[in-house]
C-alpha cells in the first residue's frame, strides 16, 4: 500500500508537460505537491473526471492526459471505461487512486471495498494496457514508460492517506484557474 502524497510526488517528478486531471483528495494534494497551470481540477460533479479527461485528450491529441480518478468516483461513472476504450485516445492514462473509501464524504467504505478488480473491468472494457501498483518503487520505476506508451492505459494505484494538506474547494473549482488552464494549454 502506498501513501497518496508519495504517489503524487512520483507523478510530479515524471509528468513533464502532461495535463493532469484530478478529483477530490488527489486534486486537493496535487495543487500543493505539483502546482502547475496544466492541472485540471474543475470537474464539477462526482464521477466526471474521466470524462473531462477524455474531452481534453480528444481535443489535444498532441498532449498526454493523465487522469487521477477515485474508486468511488469511477463506480459512479463506470460506463466511461467503455466510452474511453471506444474513443481510444492514444494519449490517455487513467490512474485510479484506490483507497477503498469515499474519503471526502466521511471515509465510508465503497461497496465491495478491496474486492473489485478494477484492472479487469478496464481490460474487459477494452483499454489497451493495464497496470496495478502497491509499492512506490514499482510506480516510480514504471511511470516514465507508461507515460510514453500508446493508450488508453489504466493504472490501479493501491493507496492510503499520507501527509495531510489543506483542503481548498474554491481553488479546485475556480473559473479563474480554469481560464488560466485554457490559456496555458493554448500556448503549450
Amino acid at each position: 500500500m502506498m501513501k497518496r502524497d508519495e504517489c503524487l510526488k512520483v507523478l510530479a517528478r515524471h509528468r513533464k508537460d502532461a495535463i493532469v486531471v484530478a478529483v477530490y483528495m488527489a486534486a486537493q494534494e496535487l495543487i500543493h505537491i505539483s502546482p502547475n497551470d496544466l492541472n485540471y481540477t474543475f470537474t464539477g460533479a462526482m464521477g466526471q473526471g474521466s470524462s473531462h479527461g477524455l474531452g481534453l485528450a480528444l481535443g489535444r491529441p498532441d498532449k498526454r492526459v493523465i487522469v487521477l480518478d477515485g474508486d468511488g468516483s469511477l463506480l459512479m461513472n463506470l460506463g466511461s471505461l467503455v466510452t474511453i476504450a471506444n474513443a481510444a485516445p492514444k494519449n490517455y492514462v487513467h490512474c485510479l487512486c484506490e483507497n477503498g473509501t469515499y474519503e471526502t464524504n466521511g471515509s465510508v467504505p465503497i461497496p465491495r471495498a478491496g474486492q473489485i478488480r478494477f484492472t479487469e473491468l478496464a481490460k474487459a472494457a477494452g483499454y489497451r494496457r493495464t497496470y496495478e501498483f502497491s509499492k512506490i518503487e514499482d510506480w516510480d520505476r514504471e511511470l516514465d514508460k507508461i507515460i510514453r506508451e500508446d493508450g488508453p492505459i489504466f493504472v490501479d494505484l493501491k493507496m492510503e492517506p499520507g501527509e495531510q494538506y489543506p483542503e481548498d474547494f474554491r481553488r479546485l473549482y475556480s473559473i479563474e484557474y480554469r481560464d488560466k488552464f485554457r490559456q496555458a494549454l493554448k500556448s503549450s
Binding site: G44, Q48, H52, L54, G55, N77, G79
Partner: protein
Amino acid sequence: MADRMLKAEDIIREIKRAGIRFIVALPDRVTSQHLLKPMLQDPDFKVVQVCKEDEGVSICSGLFAAGQRSLLLMQYTGLLDSVNALRGVAIEGQNPVCMMVGLLGKEPDVAPTQSKKYGVKIIEPILDAMGIEHHWVEASADAHKIVPAIETAYARTRPVALLIGREPT
C-alpha cells in the same frame, strides 16, 4: 405545409456553420435516423458515443478547455438524467455545453409545455429553473436559431439547449 417540415440537412448545415466538429451522442429515436447516422458517416464530424449522457456534459467541457467546439446530441430523458452534471459542470463551472435534445413523444405543432407527455412538458420549466437558455426547433424555418444560439453559448461560456420538436426527415 412544406415549411412545417424539419429537414435534417438544414440542421446539419447549421451545426457545421457554427464551427462544431465534435458530436458527443447517445442515440435518441427522434434524431438517430436522420441526424446521428449521417453524422457517423460524415468526415467533417468526429462522433464520440457515450454510455450515459452526463459523461457527454463533461466531455464537451474538456473539449472546450482544449479549444474545440462540440454538440451533445441526446433525448430529453438524458437531459433529465444529467441535471447534476449540468448544475455543477455546465452552470457553476461556466462551460458552453451545447445540447441538441430530441423531445420524444411531443405532439406535432404543440408547444412542449402544452404536451400531454409529462416528461416533455417539464423540460422547459426545468431549464428555466436552472437558468439554461433554450430554443425550440420544430420546422426548417427554425434552423436559423442554431448558429446564434451556439455562438452566444461560447461567447458567454454558458450552456444552451436546442429542443428538437419533431423527427427531422
